[in-house]
């Protein structure tokens, strides 16, 4: 650290200022330097030869959490206590030649880069609208009141991919500004306004990322604080203002090392990540399963006939077992609407998974329907259905299917391993306002 030379004489640090800086130095180091073994476990499981955007997203999203996956403010308290303890010892043993301006510079460098990487991590999965995909057919055919508010938030964003890209663009811009010392405060200000809104949204919509978003805000506050006094002096008081006078000078090879490190970081987290997310957006969006569904069958179907153990059930709004409608997604998911209640899967934070059976976005936070993944045996016309919700692990159906015409599917087979089931499905030519013209007249 002593290698940094100042372009201008160092300012005097008051005693309490030193103590405050020591505290924040330790506190933020503990918050940003990966110490969590779970993180390394994740790092080592990455296939670096076949790097995917989800891996980079994982790298970008480090924060210390001793308890749950979404973190807790209790962790922060523990870290603060540790930092206070460290500050106490440091203050006792401080060497008189420590240059606190240099220390402050390096702390700000760490936080700038940590924050930039974090905000860009979320930026690109919005810029290429992956995070909130266009709602599935099942989602479109679920009552508004059958979603959690967090799910509604995501679905509502999903119908406007351009807006999602715009939001991602703002995050990426803020991240880019943070990579450079002189524009960092502007980037931090954008993060404060933008992620401030994300934080409040998480609280309001019951999202699971309020701790992480507040974590980013805390970093942004510290980065911004560096220039806050100057900005206030100039803009609010209208007084002549002295700029930042601290300019790091790296002698000899260190300047080259700095450039190489900086360029490779930016290359990895901006260019490689952008390229990977773009490719992912084209080829492998992560929220919905990848396995293809039954060819030419996607759509919503009315259940015109329904028999259980050879007993016919007429249409009914109240019957507890009769199916009301069935959706075949483009991928290997079938969802069934009936009066049978649903115990929710309530995932509400971002996780990128490459295995179909771990992708729960389509039914997370949504009631009204039961979701089944299926394996299709197209030779014998068999569908093996498995309820995707972890609360219904035993809910399996084996159904034989016939397609007498392109709009009809007849299912017959065994449900739960005991009940015989027969259903005639007729495709509904359903029209959705959000898929039709925006400015024209709608009659639906």
């Amino acid at each position: 650290m002593s290698t940094v030379k100042l372009a201008s004489p160092a300012t005097e640090w008051k005693g309490y200022e030193k103590i405050v800086l020591r505290f924040f130095f330790l506190y933020f180091l503990l918050q940003t330097i990966p110490l969590d073994w779970k993180y390394y476990k994740g790092l080592f499981s990455i296939n670096w030869l076949n790097l995917r955007y989800g891996d980079i997203f994982f790298i970008s999203r480090y924060f210390p959490s001793f308890s749950s996956a979404t973190g807790s403010f209790v962790d922060w308290l523990i870290i603060a206590v540790l930092a206070a303890f460290g500050t106490f010892i440091w203050t006792k043993r401080d060497k008189p030649d420590t240059d606190y301006s240099v220390l402050y510079y390096w702390l700000r460098v760490i936080l700038r880069y940590r924050l930039a990487i974090g905000i860009i991590g979320y930026g690109f999965i919005k810029f290429f609208p992956l995070q909130a995909p266009f709602p599935s057919i099942s989602n479109l055919n679920t009552n508004y009141g059958d979603f959690t508010d967090w799910k509604i938030f995501s679905l509502s964003l999903g119908i406007v991919p351009h807006y999602e890209s715009f939001l991602g663009g703002v995050e990426v811009l803020a991240g880019l500004l943070l990579f450079f010392r002189r524009t960092a405060s502007i980037g931090a200000l954008i993060v404060l306004v933008f992620t401030g809104n994300v934080f409040i949204s998480n609280l309001a919509y019951g999202g699971g990322e309020y701790v992480y978003s507040f974590y980013l805000i805390s970093l942004a506050l510290f980065v911004f604080a560096y220039d806050a006094q100057r900005i206030y002096n100039l803009v609010a008081l209208g007084k002549p203002t002295v700029p930042n006078l601290f300019k790091p000078v790296f002698p000899g090879w260190q300047e080259n090392a700095r450039l190489v490190a900086k360029i490779s970081l930016i290359f990895f987290f901006v260019f490689v990540y952008a390229f990977k997310t773009y490719k992912g957006y084209r080829q492998d969006p992560y929220q919905f399963p990848t396995t293809a569904g039954l060819a030419g069958s996607a759509g919503i179907y009315n259940v015109s006939e329904f028999k259980l153990n050879n007993k016919a059930y007429p249409y009914s709004a109240t019957d507890p077992v009769r199916w009301k409608d069935v959706v075949f997604e483009k991928w290997a998911t079938i969802s069934i609407r009936s009066n049978r209640s649903v115990i929710l899967d309530s995932t509400n934070y971002e996780q990128i998974s490459y295995k179909d059976d771990e992708r729960n976005y389509e039914f997370a936070g949504s009631g009204g329907r039961h979701y089944y993944s299926f394996i299709a045996d197209t030779v014998n016309h068999l569908l093996r259905l498995q309820n995707k919700n972890k609360h219904y692990g035993n809910d399996r159906l084996v159904l034989h299917y016939i397609k007498p015409d392109s709009k009809t599917i007849i299912l017959s087979g065994v449900s739960q391993g005991r009940d015989s089931l027969y259903a005639v499905l007729n495709r509904i030519d359903k029209k959705y306002p959000i898929k039709l013209g925006r400015r024209g007249r709608l009659k639906l």
Binding site: P135, N139, L140, N141, N143, Y144, G145, D146, F147, T148, D149, I152, F153, L155, S156, I159, V160, H162, Y163, F166, R182, T183, S185, I186, L189, V193, F194, I200, S201, A204, Y205, R230, I231, L234, V235, A236, G238, K239, P240, T241, P243, L245, P314, Y315, S316, A317, T318, D325, S341, S366, G367, K430, K431, Y432, P433, I434, R439, G440, R441, L444
Partner: protein, 564 residues
């Protein structure tokens, strides 16, 4: 006062020629967009009864866009007058008429040439031409600015004028955003979804509706949005904090502009208007901040600040600022609280019949004596029904309806015109407003979907045929029944009565050919309700409704507007 003397020292003595020309143009332009130029705005202002105010009286002072006619003959296409809140409150009558015509063309069944022309117009109106009024203002400003340049070449600078222009723009932006902010602070702009909306599939809503609802489900978030907007407005009132307020304004309203484009909200011009005003406010500080932060140079701000120690200046400043703060923080807070508590402007304000409220299964349905069994595909039979906590019956039928594309806003006093619960909703959902004669147990119902009613023809108040029909329409409820129903104007809590409300109820409702039903209701405790009578197509119906204990995944609202 030392700081003022200090800053006056730094006022640059002379401006460059280009800076002066640019300023003259900017001056005229921002005056044109900041000052109301429509007669209706002034009519509203002078007609306000300050002893019995309504929140909308004040809101309408704050809510005006740019309305500059073109120099080249075409009338202004109400750039900024397209009110996302449903009605061009302070827009000209001409604009309002155009809108009715445009709506008519949207919903007209026959592609007659006039409608086609209008449709083409409305297509041309999109994107750039939405901002036509700004273009008109800019043309005027350029011409005016050049003439001014010829007449006033000797003047070295416009520091004083620049200061006052900033004051006008700051106050315009502050008042406008505060008017917006209050309907969120006391969350009425985006209501929590009613039962009928909760029972509608996500895919049956328009994009705009989806956005409005997504904010409506989180009233506390809406409050937060209101706080941000009010904070931006409050900061803009004071010179020292104006730049921070403007940055907040640009951030928030820039986002709202984009939201409106994405979801077809219709308020993009008015939202971007604030971005424009905010950008003007921060314009002087941007180069200074660039100099300080990016170039890392010693920065000396130059600006003029008037000497407020003269009594004439001092007192007029105190009076003007005090008045603005009194009206837009005092009176507006009071009227908004009243509105939130008793008369949330997007929801019907009258309490619905208590025994009826809830979700219902339609157990039995007979039409002209013939029973129709339950089927999700039947185009006549009701699938399910709700009685809202206010005076609305909703039901769903498998039959397409023309969708009301609006956001159900505006400032109507009559419950039947408050259409948020049906606007932007497809899937065969119907909503009928009812007047209840509780003595005879009869509901007088009218279709709330005015767009569907307009579909047959474009109404005009001057048309005698329509006026006649209005009269005939008025007779569908007998005087005896009216006696039992009462006066809608007085149904809400007396605390919320206002002169504005009285005036609107004194005028008859615009003639609309609404579908009507007259249904007798029988129930003991609301568990089973039997409706009998004549439906909208003059058929006699018999409907048995059984209450259904519908549980929602969506958590209930913890902040409810209205008193029901």
């Amino acid at each position: 006062m030392a700081t003022i003397e200090n800053t006056q020292e730094h006022v640059p003595v002379s401006w460059s020629v280009y800076k002066k020309i640019a300023f003259r143009i900017a001056f005229i332009f921002f005056i044109l967009v900041s000052i109301p130029f429509s007669g209706a705005w002034y009519t509203n202002l002078v007609s306000i009864d300050w002893t019995r105010p309504h929140y909308r009286d004040i809101y309408d002072i704050a809510r005006y866009g740019t309305n500059i006619p073109s120099l080249f003959g075409n009338s202004a296409r109400q750039g900024g007058g397209e009110d996302g809140e449903g009605a061009a409150a302070a827009g000209s009558k001409k604009a309002a008429k155009q809108k009715v015509a445009a709506r008519g063309s949207r919903s007209g069944d026959q592609p007659d040439p006039q409608a086609a022309e209008l449709q083409q117009l409305s297509r041309r109106r999109s994107w750039w031409s939405d901002y036509a009024s700004w273009g008109n203002a800019l043309v005027l400003a350029v011409i005016g600015g050049l003439i001014w340049t010829l007449l006033d070449r000797k003047r070295p600078s416009y520091n004083v004028l620049y200061y006052w222009l900033t004051v006008i723009v700051r106050f315009r932006a502050a008042i406008g955003i505060i008017g917006f902010g209050y309907t969120k602070l006391f969350p009425t702009q985006m209501p929590f979804p009613s039962l009928g909306l909760l029972n509608t599939d996500f895919g049956d809503f328009t994009a705009q509706k989806i956005y409005w609802l997504s904010v409506g489900i989180v009233p506390w978030y809406q409050v937060f949005g209101g706080v941000v907007e009010l904070l931006a407005g409050a900061l803009l009132f004071f010179r020292k904090t104006a730049t921070f307020g403007a940055i907040l304004l640009i951030g928030a309203l820039g986002d709202i502009t984009f939201v409106n484009y994405a979801y077809d909200g219709g308020v993009h011009v008015y939202a971007f208007y604030f971005v424009l005003l905010g950008s003007f406010v921060i314009a002087a500080d941007v180069p200074r901040l660039y100099n300080l932060l990016i170039l890392e140079r010693y920065t000396v701000p130059h600006f003029y600040y008037p000497d407020y120690s003269k009594p004439a200046y001092k007192y007029s400043r105190i009076v003007l600022k005090g008045l603005a703060i009194l009206i837009f923080f005092g009176v507006l807070t009071y009227t908004e609280v009243i509105n939130f508590k008793y008369d949330p402007y997007k929801q019907p304000a009258t309490a619905g019949l208590k025994t009826l409220r809830g979700n219902y299964n339609v157990t039995e349905f007979k039409i002209n004596g013939q029973e129709i069994p339950y089927s999700p595909l039947d185009s006549v039979r009701w699938k399910e029904a709700t009685f809202e906590k206010w005076t609305t019956l909703t039901f769903r039928v498998n039959k397409p309806v023309v969708v009301d594309p609006s956001n159900g806003g505006g400032s109507p006093m009559r419950d039947i015109q408050r259409t948020f619960e049906i606007a932007g909703t497809a899937g065969g959902q119907r909503a009928f407003h009812y007047y209840a004669d509780t003595v005879e147990q009869v509901l007088y119902l009218q279709d709330k979907n005015a767009v569907a009613a307009r579909a047959s023809r474009i109404p005009s108040e001057a048309d005698p045929k329509i006026a006649g029909r209005t009269k005939k329409n008025d007779n569908w409820i007998s005087d005896a029944a009216w006696k039992n129903i009462g006066d809608e104007n007085k149904f809400i809590d007396p605390a919320a009565w206002s002169t504005r409300r009285d005036r609107e109820f004194a005028r008859p409702e615009r003639g609309l050919n609404r579908a009507k039903m007259i249904l007798k209701y029988h129930t003991t405790d609301g568990a089973r309700v039997i409706l009998t009578g004549i439906n909208e197509s003059k058929d006699s119906i018999y409907v048995v409704l059984d209450k259904r204990n519908r549980k929602y995944v969506l958590p209930e609202s913890t902040l409810n507007a209205g008193k029901y």
